[in-house]
């Protein structure tokens, strides 16, 4: 009797330890140094976007769609065209036909200030989507990329609601959430993202904030920089140069 009680106590103890470990480790295990020699601890990824250089060609949207097999009608990245009449910052005319996957038709409105704004997941360091995920399927990797473990995602859509930038959607076939991964499969192999590679003007640049030699540091030091919706305090790592106040 005493022996079986001892066994029970031992089993219960093991269960509690394992269960508490599972609770405290709700997020999927982080990638570590792999055979490619990539060490996530040495990187902190983000992106810079120079509004003045974007020509709205849609190359980035098409490249992203091809690279990541993005389902029709959904967008990991898109481009918006802003037309802001003088003094009308509160009432800009904005459009993004099919996410600008085919670019933009010519605009008859020549009087307004006009510019293009590429959008993608802001890879927030203080990410609302990561905070609200009930099972930790959405997580920040050690190198600062917000990723989704689709084998773990419930499809509850709370993260879609929590994202202030509209960057998430539910994959129509997988029924799990999907978003920009900053081409994680590429950047961990030493490549840049598909959108940056396809950009003909270099408006988009992958940035490694932990690499002292990365041009991002000079870009941030020598330009007036803004992030989208700074009042959301998400610590976005997509840095815009020449971002107009009318942009939402």
């Amino acid at each position: 009797m005493e022996s079986s009680r001892r066994k029970f106590m031992a089993s219960a103890g093991k269960f509690l330890i394992l269960a508490s470990a599972a609770v405290s480790d709700g997020e999927p295990s982080a990638p570590t140094t792999g055979t490619s020699g990539y060490d996530p601890a040495k990187h902190w990824w983000g992106m810079t976007i120079d509004i003045d250089k974007c020509i709205g060609c849609g190359n980035c949207v098409r490249a992203c769609s091809r690279e990541n097999s993005v389902p029709d009608g959904f967008y990991r990245t898109w481009v918006e065209r802003y037309e802001v009449p003088a003094g009308e910052d509160e009432n800009p005319h904005v459009e993004s036909p099919d996410g600008a996957i085919h670019g933009f038709p010519p605009s008859p409105n020549t009087a307004a200030k006009r510019f293009f704004v590429p959008k993608l997941c802001n890879q927030c360091a203080n990410s609302p989507c990561v905070q609200v995920c009930p099972v930790g399927a959405t997580f920040v990797s050690p190198d600062g990329v917000v990723l989704v473990d689709e084998s773990y995602c419930l499809g509850c859509r709370y993260c879609v609601q929590a994202c202030p930038y509209g960057c998430r959607y539910i994959h129509p076939r997988k029924h799990t959430v999907d978003k920009c991964t900053l081409c994680y499969h590429r950047i961990t192999q030493g490549l840049t993202t598909a959108c940056c590679e396809a950009c003909p003007t270099g408006a988009r640049q992958l940035a490694d904030l932990k690499n002292p030699a990365d041009p991002v540091h000079e870009f941030l030091r020598t330009n007036k920089i803004q992030v989208l919706k700074p009042h959301m305090a998400t610590h976005s790592k997509v840095f815009y140069r020449a971002l107009d106040g009318a942009v939402r």
């Binding site: 959904f74 099972v135 609601q161 202030p164």
Partner: protein
């Protein structure tokens, strides 16, 4: 351009993420919390007049609580993974706590209180009911046949303690549901610290109205006289809680209008267009002003019994419609405008889909089916011939 879209919305925003099923979730949990708080009036605050509805309120709360997780479950993209919320909950997520709050409320509060309240009858029926129901009651005794005065005193003391714990638990349950919405800072329609409080008071309003209507309907079906002292008391509580609820909602509205932040123009446009019918007409006029007038008249004037009954029935029904509309306006309304504040989308309610109207109607009927079974199994009526009648019918 997607059909139903006006202005500019982010390209991934055309489809609404949370459907009518997520409208049902706060509505149903609200009924649970409200019904339980009504029950606690008698037990903790010694409001003897509402005693005829004490057990009915508990059973109503249980019937709705059993259904509460179903809309969430049906809504998930991968319902088979929902257990992960229990096994590896992400502790920073408000939603991850749902399972624990739910289980606490179901297992620790409601089931325990109902069991303690009914223990004597369960023991009696475990010896007198016809088979196979006798076996059911025998299981429900949990092996204890002791109904001595001493054990009853212990039941009462424990039951009282459970109810005392249950009141903050009911507040927690529904305040928590409000927090799920109120803590989404990306959504200006939801993001307010008042949201949990407004949800809580509207929950009390809906739960009290539901128990009042169910009590009236049950009396009619049983051809039993309605205890008007009880009904008047419930209606009085409904009126005062409703006044607080309405004041809180108006406070929220005035605050938004006065502050008029960047989201206000969008929200104002929505209230005057896409939400005009569901918010202004149904929620505010039909669902709030009408019941408040009907209930208020009864506080000012002593009307005839028949008139009071009719007015309470209409007020109760309108209240439930109004609270449902409030849930609709929060959940659906909160997704109709773009986070760019430059455009709007629309919600098309389908019928025969997993998240359609048909499934929603079935989910709303299910608690009533469960309640009918519970009423047969554990008759709540004050007059004690009811258990015998139930035994005969069983």
């Amino acid at each position: 351009m997607h059909p139903g879209v006006d202005g500019f919305i982010y390209p991934n925003e055309a489809e609404l993420q949370w459907s009518i099923l997520i409208v049902l979730y706060p509505f149903i949990t609200g009924l649970v919390a409200g019904a339980f708080i009504l029950a606690s009036l008698e037990r903790v605050f010694n409001v003897a007049a509402v005693k005829p509805t004490y057990r009915l309120a508990l059973l109503t709360a249980l019937a709705f609580l059993l259904v509460a997780p179903l809309p969430l479950q049906m809504h998930l993209g991968h319902p088979e993974r929902s257990f992960e919320m229990y096994v590896t909950p992400h502790v920073s997520s408000a939603m991850a706590m749902f399972g624990f709050v739910y289980l606490w409320y179901l297992m620790v509060v409601l089931l325990l209180e109902i069991w303690l309240e009914y223990r004597v009858e369960i023991v009696q029926l475990s010896n007198t009911a016809a088979k196979p129901w006798r076996w059911v009651y025998r299981m429900l005794t949990l092996g204890s046949q002791n109904v001595s005065p001493a054990s009853r005193r212990i039941d009462d003391a424990v039951g009282y303690t459970v109810t005392v714990i249950g009141i903050p638990s009911a507040f927690l349950l529904h305040g928590y549901v409000g927090f799920i919405f109120g803590s989404v800072k990306a959504n200006a329609w939801w993001s307010t610290p008042l949201m949990p409080i407004v949800f809580l008071f509207s929950a009390m309003v809906s739960g009290i109205a539901a128990v009042m209507l169910i009590y009236m309907a049950a009396c009619r079906m049983r051809r039993a006289a309605i205890d008007m002292r009880c009904l008047d008391t419930i209606a009085r509580y409904l009126f005062f809680v409703f006044l607080i609820d309405f004041s809180l909602e108006m406070l929220d509205l005035i605050h938004r209008i006065y502050e008029a932040d960047e989201s206000f123009r969008s929200l104002d446009f929505m209230v005057h267009t896409r939400l005009w019918a569901s918010q202004v007409v149904v929620q505010i006029l039909l669902g709030t002003v009408v019941p408040l007038i009907l209930l208020g008249l009864n506080q000012l004037f002593r009307l005839r019994e028949e008139a009071r009954r009719s007015m309470y029935a209409i007020a109760g029904f309108c209240t439930l419609v109004g609270v449902f509309a409030m849930r609709w306006n929060v959940v659906i309304g909160g997704q109709l405008f773009s986070k760019s504040y430059l455009g709007y989308t629309s919600y098309k309610l389908e019928f025969a889909t997993r998240e359609g109207l048909g499934a929603s109607i079935a989910l709303m009927l299910l608690p009533f089916v469960i309640l009918l079974v519970l009423l047969k199994l554990l008759p709540p009526w004050e007059e004690r011939e009811a258990p015998r009648a139930a035994t005969a019918s069983l």
